[in-house]
Amino acid sequence: MASALARAFDSDLWWSFKRSPVTVASALVALVCILGALLAPWIAPHNPFDLATLNLGDAFKPPAWAEDGDPLFGLGTDDQGRDVLSAIMYGARISLLVGVCAVVFSTLVGVAVGLLAGYLGGTADSLLMRIADIQLTFPSILIALLVDGVVRAAVPREVHDQIALFVVIFAIGISAWPQFARTVRGSTLVERNKEYVLAARIIGISQVRIMLTHVLPNVIGPVLVIATLNLGFAILAEATLSFLGVGVPPTQPSLGTLIRIGNDFLFSGEWWITIFPGIALICMVLSVNLLGDWLRDALNPRLR
């Protein structure tokens, strides 16, 4: 373990990480966001989901530093008297959860399809890639909206509220898989004619095993980059859906939901209800994207 750590710190990756102040800064921001979200139940000043702790008398308190601010509520309170900071921390949890799950989902689907298409070739390749091409002609947010709309129409409301989170994860995940599939297919096409694959074939290893244990490790690098960049997209997509009111149920407000609710008060002077969740969303997505960019450059031998 210690040697693995030492090796990691000695690697090119670490070196290029250290050399880029932007990357270090965004890693720190991302770390704060993620820790704040994960540890929300323990470190958040209030629990915005516990109705019994809400007091309508606390509603519309401005941030602590403003006139009439209350030090108890650092970033102010919303129309129900909920602490905005706590709501952001809990909301970021939902946003991150949906984002990560959606990316994992689209990675799994995309990598599987890409491997199959690239390795098998022929009809399977044409068929799978044409499906991917067709899907790529639609904007991904449209596909997510479509999936959500169909599910909403198909299942009764009570059931929908319970599965809403999974529907959103599926909707966002399914809208992003072609990118993964195309990348993996490209790399697989290169790899499958290399000698080590031929050798594996000659000694009679099954095709599934060749794909998973021989080809996959050699094509996974770019997938990591796309996955990181896609995490930003997925978080944004979830916020967009929730802002439009079709994302996660209002009982589990994500950052997008918070922004939507606060939007109603933006023009009446109670700006903090929507601006702070907005800033949190920007920080989260920007830092993840910057990290993804750095990873792409660092893993690209031509840019070194």
């Binding site: 019994a52 008398g57 129900q80 939007n263 023009f267 009446s268 002077g269």
Partner: protein, 532 residues
């Protein structure tokens, strides 16, 4: 050279736009927005303000309302009580429906019968009617089951449709909204009113065009000059207000309260305010033996008066008035506001807000740990309806009643509660007849199959004393009737079938060049609207 050509093009485009703009000014169009969309165009299917606000431009009743809500001749020019149970109406001459049929007495008799059908939501206005008969082309008799002192007030809410048109389109009975039925009248109209329905896209846009042939133009103060009304539901408060400020819409009926100050200060926009005859309250299911939506098994806590009182006293209505309503409400402890005939000041008293007492009452009732319940709530019908429900959920949770809010747009919300499929719900009740009976009969009488009785009593409150008092309101007159109303108000206060919250104030916001008279029934009448 190229730059010059572009400039010329640009000027031409600007001129063209200007010409279009000038055309629009002559057209006198009012673009109107509110949060919810009417859930039908059928004239007798949904007795809901959001539906009426569009349909009353299209259809005429026998009697219309003046700006002070008093009665005026509509399709009937004369009416009188021939016998205690027989009223005679003389129809206006030369009235034509939008599709060309001439109005006859048959149409009126048919419309009254249509409102009496089981799928009608307007039974409350014709509850005393036995049947209607056409005496000749221009005379209709309405035969009553019993004398009705306020019949003319009620008939001002019954729209008159064409018999032949309804028969042609299989619409001789109202659409069954509860069963989500779709029929010709869901999207089409054929009235005699000042405006006809030009196009209708549910949830997107409803366009009304001026009916130049309307009988009322130029008479009785109907001096409106609006030629086209475009109604658009805009659910988001911020978007609706941004649309008004940018001039994209001319008239917003339900501006969000938090934006009133900004609207008052904005150039080119004005806010007119006034009280509405509409009361917001919570009603509880006091009929089922087991709570439908909650964790109490085998019994229904709302059947216990102490629980109802506890939930009442747990609500800090002043905080809602101050924060969520921003002062734009009149806190109340009774069923209707003072504009309604029968109001008694001494009965307009609330149980005081007292969380400790609420907890004690719950404990006495056998719920020391509280219980959980789902509060059904519309989110685009009343002013800040969803926020009020969330406020109440928090207040109830503080005394141990863990409350989940289920908020929905008005169409699914009404469809759900109209099946009695609820444990507790928020409702707002306007009183178009301006008489106490309307509220008591619809909301608190037991649903016994009689027209109008208990048709909005979805908590199925049933108290023989209340039923007897409602019967007395129907037949008694003068002081005896007022005595019945006063006693019913007292019973309402003691028995807590509802938790009253407040009467709404209704600010309307419009562009400065638009004048639409403010009405306490929250209905815009475009026949009086003027655009400069």
């Amino acid at each position: 050279m190229r730059v010059k050509a572009r400039a010329v093009l640009r000027t031409a485009a600007a001129l063209a736009l200007l010409a279009l703009g000038a055309g629009a000014v002559q057209a006198k169009s009012v673009r109107w927005a509110a949060s919810g969309d009417p859930n039908t165009m059928d004239p007798h299917s949904q007795n809901v303000g959001t539906v009426t606000m569009v349909l009353q431009q299209v259809y005429d009743p026998l009697l219309k309302r003046n700006q002070d809500l008093s009665l005026a001749p509509g399709l009937a020019t004369e009416w009188r009580q021939e016998e205690p149970t027989r009223w005679r109406f003389t129809l206006r001459q030369g009235v034509k429906f939008h599709e060309g049929e001439a109005l006859t007495a048959e149409d009126v008799a048919f419309s009254v019968q249509r409102a009496l059908q089981p799928t009608s939501n307007f039974g409350i206005y014709v509850d005393t009617v036995d049947h209607a008969v056409a005496v000749d082309e221009r005379t209709v008799d309405i035969i009553l089951k019993r004398p009705d002192p306020i019949l003319s007030n009620k008939l001002a809410s019954i729209f008159i449709v064409s018999k032949s048109w309804s028969e042609k389109h299989n619409a001789t009975r109202p659409q069954n909204t509860r069963a989500r039925e779709e029929m010709h009248t869901t999207r089409n109209t054929n009235g005699t009113g000042a405006y006809r329905l030009a196009s209708r896209e549910p949830d997107v846009r409803t366009v009304l065009a001026r009916n130049e042939a309307w009988w009322g133009w130029g008479v009785e103060g109907n001096a409106g000059n609006v030629t086209e009304i475009v109604y658009r539901p805009i659910a988001s408060d911020a978007t609706r207000i941004a649309a008004l400020l940018s001039g994209e819409v001319d008239f917003v009926m339900d501006p969000p309260l938090q934006d009133l100050n900004r609207l008052r200060a904005a150039p080119g926009v004005k806010v007119i305010e006034g009280p509405e005859v509409r009361s917001i309250f919570l009603a509880m299911d006091v009929n089922r033996d087991e709570l439908l939506y909650g964790d109490v098994k085998g019994k229904n806590p709302f059947k216990d008066l102490r629980v109802r009182q506890a939930l009442y006293q747990a609500i800090d209505v002043q905080a809602i008035h101050r924060t969520t309503m921003r002062g734009q409400s009149v806190v109340t402890g009774t069923l209707f506001p003072e504009q309604v005939n029968g109001y008694v000041k001494a009965e307009d008293v609330r149980l005081p807000f007292d969380a400790a007492r609420a907890k004690a009452l719950l404990e006495q009732a056998g719920y020391p740990q509280g219980f959980s319940v789902t509060l059904d709530c519309p989110n685009n019908r009343y002013i800040n309806d969803e926020q009020i429900c969330q406020n109440i959920a928090a207040m109830w949770s503080r005394v141990g009643v863990r409350t989940a809010v289920k908020s929905q747009p008005l169409a699914p919300f009404f469809a759900q509660i109209q099946k009695d499929d609820t444990s507790v719900y928020l409702l707002g009740w306007g009183v178009p007849t301006l008489d106490a009976l309307y509220s008591f009969q619809s909301l608190l009488a037991f649903r016994n199959g009689d027209q109008g009785d208990g048709i909005w009593n979805y908590g199925r409150y049933s108290n023989p004393r209340m039923d007897a008092l409602v019967q007395r309101m129907k037949t008694d007159t003068g002081e005896a009737r007022q005595a019945a109303i006063t006693e019913a108000l007292k019973l309402y206060r003691e028995d807590v079938p509802h938790i009253p919250l407040h009467h709404q104030m209704i600010p309307w916001a419009m562009r400065s060049n638009v004048q639409i008279p403010h009405m306490a029934n929250n209905q815009p009448y475009f026949r009086w609207a003027v655009v400069n």
